[in-house]
């Protein structure tokens, strides 16, 4: 076929342009010429011009002015013009353009054209850019072509129908019968189209899926024919007969066999046959095997067949071709949940793939390896994973680190191993770990109390080595602060003894504080650690100077901390020891909890003070507690003379955290237990009150009924001295069931601005067994009021 000379000349001209600017110039000139030509009447060169425009469009220049020309060309009787016109329509028009609707009529006409190549153009264009409206319009035509035309048109009509169904799902019903009958065709192109169409119909409509299950035997037959048949030159690809069709049939079988025993049984033998007979030396054979494996694993196949499938994947893992290894791992990843043991058998090969050169393969191997970690192989797997971490590409580091942490958490054989592993990760890839790692590790360390000495020695040494990994430095500082005394003791069972002096430790912390590599958070850790050491180290109290520098630090948090610590040395030196006491074991929180809150435990209830209330005390907390403390103390005039009880607990060194809260507990009024104020005829009335502020008191009255009969219309009325304001809230109800089954509560808000002696008279009235009862009770003392020293 002779090429278009004008088109090729233009292309040559554009290519010879040496700069972008020059190229733009050429194109502008050409486009102007093309536009002029479009406006003329038919001049026989239309197809050249449109072709030129399409080339320009491919280079990325605007070509929308060619849209109408496409419409005109499509309507032309000349095949050459139609051909380029339709091509233009596919390139320039899409369903969003208005012009696309204009070609609907042309397409309709061309679908019934006498020449099959014209029909083919129309079908192709419709399948490429047909909008929903066009599809609805032309669907009946397509159905007609599906039934009565030659193979060439049938196969195109089938794919056109697929496009229509994707655009307008309801039309699926229209094509189902024709699709069914197409399965008996011999032509591979038509068969392929039919299988694709049936696949599409089944995926969109479960009822259709049910109906098409009956075709499983036919599909099995066709497949068998392909697999067993001799050499067919038309369809042979490297010894496989029509692999494209085979793969499509396998995929349809997968959909039909899914969740259905009968269908799965019917295809069992075939799948076994394909799996064993397909030649796997070339990619094409492996493509078919791959699809077979996917199908076997997805349907309800026999266990023997499943094992066969997994073994094929195992063989793929050993293939020289990187692509095959890659897809093997993708598939194994999908089934590692369900067929875990089968995949475990190939663990060795998978771990080897961690060392592959290719980044995609590495990534897959990492994901799969992490999925294969279990309690029995944790030690060996972790060795490999840590090795991988030290040499893995940067984009995989974060994933590897978090995967390792997760695995370590689940399967750690011992605490020491766990801590070692985390430390190893922090040293290797500290910059890529998540933020929660630091508190998690600290919590882990506090829990492993017998390893404190070992841990602090190890961390100290790590700190001396390298202070650039922030997470590691933070943990190290925290540990040195907490367990500095253990560090100075020098001997440790698990590591070699090292003589560490106080100066060494302080120097190390000072280095961290001064280093430009340390982030403000890290500096905060170091500062706190230094402060803590002041209570653990006996001599060196010129630590105090460190604080001064940072009172003018740029970071607000750091500044605040420094100022507080300075205050701790100056004004509140006597509290320092208690405030900086060793922290309690942090209890494990689930990841959902936020710092500083325990779900469901109101912080106000501080009776009786338990160590549990210390949770979760995270490293930042001591400073905050100090801050709170100072805030509270700062509020009152006298420096720390609240009551003898807190003062006493300061000097007793008992389990730490509880002390801190005892301090707070002593200063805040504890809500006292409810007091029974009335008990008569089975009616019990209890009263509890809570101070809201200086003059406002909330009183809660609770009534219960211990008789055998219910009480209805239960009401409480209250009266108070004149200057007191009373506000009764709505009661919870007025029905008191017998035998204390339920209570009635009534809240009363009292405002006593003149601070007179508070008294309240309460009238109780109710109906029981048909008769009305009434009584009055006077309350002279309110629990909890006197204790606050009002």
């Amino acid at each position: 076929m002779s090429p278009s000379v004008p088109l090729q000349e233009m292309i040559r001209a554009i290519r010879s342009a040496r700069t972008q600017c020059e190229e733009r110039g050429v194109i502008q000139r050409e486009c102007a010429a093309i536009r002029a030509q479009f406006r003329q009447v038919d001049n026989g060169a239309r197809s050249h011009n449109l072709a030129k425009l399409l080339y320009v469009h491919m280079l990325g220049y605007p070509a929308h002015f060619g849209q109408m020309e496409c419409v005109r060309m499509i309507a032309s009787p000349r095949y050459s013009e139609k051909r380029v016109g339709y091509l233009g329509a596919m390139m320039l028009l899409d369903e969003k353009q208005d012009a696309s609707l204009l070609i609907t009529n042309s397409i309709k006409n061309d679908l019934s054209h006498s020449n099959q190549y014209v029909q083919s153009l129309a079908l192709c264009t419709l399948a490429c850019m047909g909008s929903a409206e066009m599809c609805r319009d032309l669907a009946p035509e397509i159905d007609r072509l599906l039934r009565a035309s030659n193979s060439y048109i049938k196969k195109k009509a089938a794919l056109c129908a697929v496009h229509i169904v994707r655009k307008v799902q309801d039309l699926g019903e229209l094509f189902a019968p024709a699709a069914r009958s197409l399965l008996s065709e011999k032509n591979h192109g038509v068969l392929h189209g039919a299988v694709v169409l049936i696949t599409e119909l089944c995926e969109r409509n479960p009822e259709t899926l049910e109906r098409f299950r009956k075709t499983v035997p036919d599909l099995v037959q066709i497949m068998k024919g392909l697999v067993i048949s001799g050499y067919s030159p038309e369809h042979d690809v490297a010894g496989i007969s029509d692999p494209f069709l085979q793969v499509r049939i396998l995929r349809l079988l997968r959909i039909l066999g899914r969740n259905n025993e009968a269908a799965s049984d019917a295809m069992n033998d075939l799948l076994a046959q394909v799996a064993t007979n397909t030649d796997s030396t070339k990619t094409v054979g492996n493509a078919v095997l791959y699809e077979t494996v996917l199908t076997v694993l997805d349907i309800k196949s026999e266990s023997g067949l499943r094992v066969l499938a997994v073994n094929i994947l195992g063989r793929f893992l050993l293939n020289n071709d990187r692509n095959i290894r890659y897809i093997a791992m993708t598939s194994l990843q999908r089934i590692v949940g369900t067929d875990h043991n089968a995949v475990q058998r190939h663990r060795g090969t998978i771990v080897d793939c961690l060392k592959d050169q290719d980044a995609s393969v590495k990534r897959r191997a990492l994901e799969l390896s992490l999925a294969l970690v279990s309690a029995s192989n944790i030690r060996s797997m972790m060795k490999e994973l840590l090795l991988f971490l030290s040499s893995c590409p940067p984009e995989l580091r974060a994933q590897a680190a978090s995967g390792i942490f997760y695995a370590a958490e689940r399967y750690a054989p011992s605490q020491r191993w766990h801590i070692d592993t985390i430390l190893h990760v922090l040293t290797t890839a500290g910059g890529d770990v998540r933020d929660e790692t630091v508190p998690n590790l600290i919590q882990l360390i506090t829990n492993a109390s017998e390893l404190h000495c070992y841990t602090v020695h190890k961390l100290y040494r790590a700190l001396l080595n390298d202070i650039s990994q922030q997470s590691l430095v933070q943990v190290a500082c925290w540990c040195i602060g907490e367990y500095g005394d253990l560090l100075l003791r020098g001997e440790c069972q698990e590591t070699e003894p090292a003589q560490v002096t106080e100066d060494d430790v302080l120097d190390a912390l000072e280095t961290v504080l001064q280093s430009h590599m340390s982030s403000p958070a890290t500096r905060g850790f170091a500062l706190t650690a230094t402060m803590k050491l002041s209570t653990r180290i006996l001599d060196n109290v010129d630590v105090i100077h460190v604080g001064y520098e940072f009172s003018s630090a740029l970071s607000l948090k750091l500044q605040q901390r420094a100022v507080e610590y300075n205050a701790l040395f100056r004004k509140y030196d006597h509290m320092r020891a208690a405030v900086l006491e060793r922290m309690p074991v942090i209890e494990k929180n689930s990841p959902g909890h936020t710092n500083g809150e325990s779900a469901g435990e109101p912080m106000k209830e501080i009776q009786p003070p338990k160590v549990k209330q210390g949770e979760p005390l995270l490293p930042q907390q001591p400073a905050n507690q100090v801050c709170d403390l100072l805030g509270l103390l700062g509020g009152s005039e006298e420096p720390l003379q609240p009551s003898p009880a807190p003062g006493l607990s300061l000097n007793t060194a008992s389990t730490a955290g509880g002390d801190l809260l005892d301090l707070l507990g002593g200063l805040e009024p504890t809500p006292p237990a409810p007091v029974t104020v009335y008990e008569k005829d089975g009616v019990t009335l209890t009263l509890s009150c809570e101070k809201q502020s200086d003059s406002v008191l909330t009183v809660t009255l609770t009534a219960s009924n211990s008789t055998d009969s219910d009480m209805s219309s239960f009401t409480l009325q209250a009266a108070v001295p004149k200057s007191v304001q009373l506000h009764m809230k709505a009661p919870s109800g007025d029905f008191l069931p017998a035998r204390g089954a339920a209570k009635v509560t009534q809240m009363v808000v009292l405002n006593n601005p003149n601070k007179v002696n508070l008294k309240m008279r309460i009238r109780v009235s109710y109906t029981s067994q048909g008769s009305a009862f009434q009584d009055t009770v006077q309350i002279d003392s309110f629990p909890g009021l006197s204790a606050a020293g009002h």
């Binding site: 076929m1 002779s2 090429p3 090729q8 292309i11 290519r15 026989g44 197809s47 050249h48 399409l54 491919m58 000349r78 095949y79 050459s80 051909r83 091509l87 899409d94 969003k96 190549y117 083919s120 079908l123 192709c124 490429c128 850019m129 195109k156 794919l159 056109c160 697929v162 994707r166 192109g189 392929h192 189209g193 995926e203 969109r204 479960p206 009822e207 899926l209 049910e210 369809h235 690809v237 029509d242 494209f244 069709l245 793969v247 959909i255 899914r258 094409v284 493509a287 791959y290 699809e291 990187r322 692509n323 095959i324 890659y326 897809i327 050169q357 290719d358 980044a359 995609s360 393969v361």
Partner: protein, 170 residues
């Protein structure tokens, strides 16, 4: 691949198909673009940029499969041209490689030892051949010979029609 969990569940996935096919040179110049789903010009330009950047950055002997958003990108280099095919995430990558290879074979048969210049100067023919091989994101004809015969016949038709109507050839 659609996942219909149970007859009562109806999960409508977009479709199992190819999304787009791009051919570009080692310098990133686009030689052919076929889009199988409707997309705005802006999106197309962005995809072209992303694909060329990603594929050209790959090492010589790497895996031919990439992940991009929710699609799998299969690419293969033939001489100076990169063929880049995007498929849905559930599709068979190895078969996609075969699809690319088949298209190259078809071009080779038609042009006779096809090279990049053939595709530059006869881009519309490359499209015609593609349109006989793939349609609507699916394979249309699995036989090489059938596709070749159809293209030849269409060309013939064009020429005879032109001769008959005594107008200059395309």
């Amino acid at each position: 691949m659609c996942l219909i969990v149970a007859p009562s569940d109806l999960l409508v996935c977009l479709c199992c198909q190819m999304r787009f096919l791009l051919l570009f040179s080692r310098q990133g110049k686009l030689r052919l673009q076929k889009w199988f789903t409707p997309m705005s010009d802006r999106e197309k330009k962005k995809i072209i940029r992303d694909m060329t950047t990603m594929v050209l950055a790959r090492q010589p002997r790497s895996c031919n499969f990439l992940h991009w958003k929710d699609l799998k990108i299969i690419y293969k280099r033939y001489a100076s041209l990169y063929f880049c095919l995007a498929i849905e995430s559930q599709e068979n990558e190895l078969l996609a490689l075969e699809v690319i290879h088949r298209y190259v074979e078809l071009l080779d048969k038609y042009f006779g030892n096809v090279c990049e210049l053939d595709i530059i100067f006869n881009f519309e023919k490359a499209y015609f051949i593609l349109d006989e091989f793939l349609m609507g994101g699916e394979i249309q004809e699995t036989s090489k010979q059938v596709v070749n015969r159809c293209i030849e016949s269409s060309d013939m038709l064009q020429e005879t029609m032109e001769e008959y109507m005594s107008k200059p050839a395309f």
